[in-house]
Symmetry: C2
DNA sequence: ACCTGAACACCGTTCAAGT
DNA sequence: ACCTGAACACCGTTCAAGT
């Protein structure tokens, strides 16, 4: 009945590595290498330990568990996002750059897609980004809860766009599916809905990267238009 | 080098259960019970087998692997979505109802959040829903690729909103974290960003379910406004 | 302070064997 | 046609023991 205490990597001091042995940074860097090269499912404590020339269980000295290690890795990559200071650019440009920046980071590190929403984004890099977005929206004129809502709308759209995007291309890539056989499956599965099939055919006939870009730009423009309208009235 | 053939549960006939033994339906229903009661991570082939009074490995006669079993379960729940026929309602109402319907389904079955984007949504229920959305947007006036983009914008927003929503409350619920200790962590982690902390305080001070509802409604209205504007001009 | 190895309690899946 | 059990190759994590 008594509620458990919530704890977090971000409010606990890392154990201090004087000079010897492993450091938390080293571990996170090695984890990122595995994640980038082989994906989320490929990261195991044993494999990570081996890569560092240590036993798997040694890692537990530096990190409470795998979940917290992933929190550290998750935050790390948001450091790559370059966001224009909302002071100089207009809020709409800031939102645009923010959304595209997030998307690029996720496409560069597809494994994050599997972590989004699973962990609190309260690491330093996540917070830095959140603060810049908040500042931009505040300058735009949003106040109080609407400041949150507006920011949530943008990030929700980005996450919801990019998660399936990543899943499709990384599944297709790592399993090397034949594109034509995928189309064939869709044709027969959706045989009852000819218009849906027609849409899928046109969609897949073009350069996939370009279509996805346009898809993203279209939706983002909708969200930003909606926000703008909420400011005017 | 030769690309692998893509296969799918949806285009393969289920092995026919004459009268005896397990059926695929039975397995999927039992899986859904475990998923609803205990969540995605709690579903294992062994546990599912035991629930059905069978060996874990018996399941592999009816289902190729766990992934395909999850595809079946994933599609099943979209059957609960009731969508107004776009013929009678206006497209904006259809979009609104569609988005809220999706959200409700996900909140009722939080485990789906972990599957979104991970599998092709080409089961019968998913397709039925997709077709209704497509029809609504077509009637609204969208044509060609914009029909896809408009639909993708709506679903992206819904998924991106609901995934973190589900993650937070289900993590908080199942681990029974003390709400005050979570606020405390945020306060110290975000100590450098007083405005961000202030936002979080206001956000968490209110009835969480109501705030999330408003958050969702706000963002959805933005997306729909944006779509509307793209129709007019 | 840091690391190790053995051990525990799990996984998904394959496959020869049974009925 | 359907199910079983043993087995394989893994997991994350704990903990007493080492240095």
């Amino acid at each position: 009945m008594t509620a458990k205490q919530f704890t977090s990597v971000w409010t606990r001091e890392p154990r201090q590595g004087k000079t010897q042995g492993l450091t938390r940074d080293q571990i996170v860097r090695a984890a990122l290498e595995i994640l980038d090269a082989e994906g989320l499912d490929a990261l195991s404590m044993r494999k990570l330990g081996a890569k560092l020339g240590a036993g798997a269980t040694s890692l537990y000295w530096h990190v409470a568990n795998k979940e917290e290690l992933l929190e550290l890795a998750f935050d790390e990559i948001w450091g790559e996002m370059s966001i224009p200071d909302p002071g100089s650019a207009g809020w709409r440009d800031t939102g645009w750059a923010f959304a595209h920046g997030m998307r690029k980071v996720i496409l560069r590190h597809p494994w994050v897609a599997g972590l989004i929403g699973r962990m609190p984004a309260i690491g330093p890099n996540s917070l830095r980004a959140a603060e810049l977005l908040r500042k931009g929206l505040h300058q735009a004129g949003f106040r109080g809860l609407e400041e949150d809502y507006a920011g949530a709308a943008i990030t929700a759209f980005v996450f919801g766009s990019v998660i399936p995007e990543v899943a499709w291309f990384s599944a297709a890539a790592e399993k090397e599916y034949d594109a034509e056989s995928m189309r064939e499956i869709i044709r027969t599965a959706a045989a009852d809905y000819p218009e849906l099939v027609a849409r899928a055919e046109e969609y897949t006939a073009r350069d996939p990267a370009a279509v996805r870009e346009m898809n993203f730009a279209f939706g983002l423009a909708c969200v930003l238009d909606g926000l703008e309208r909420r400011l005017v009235t």
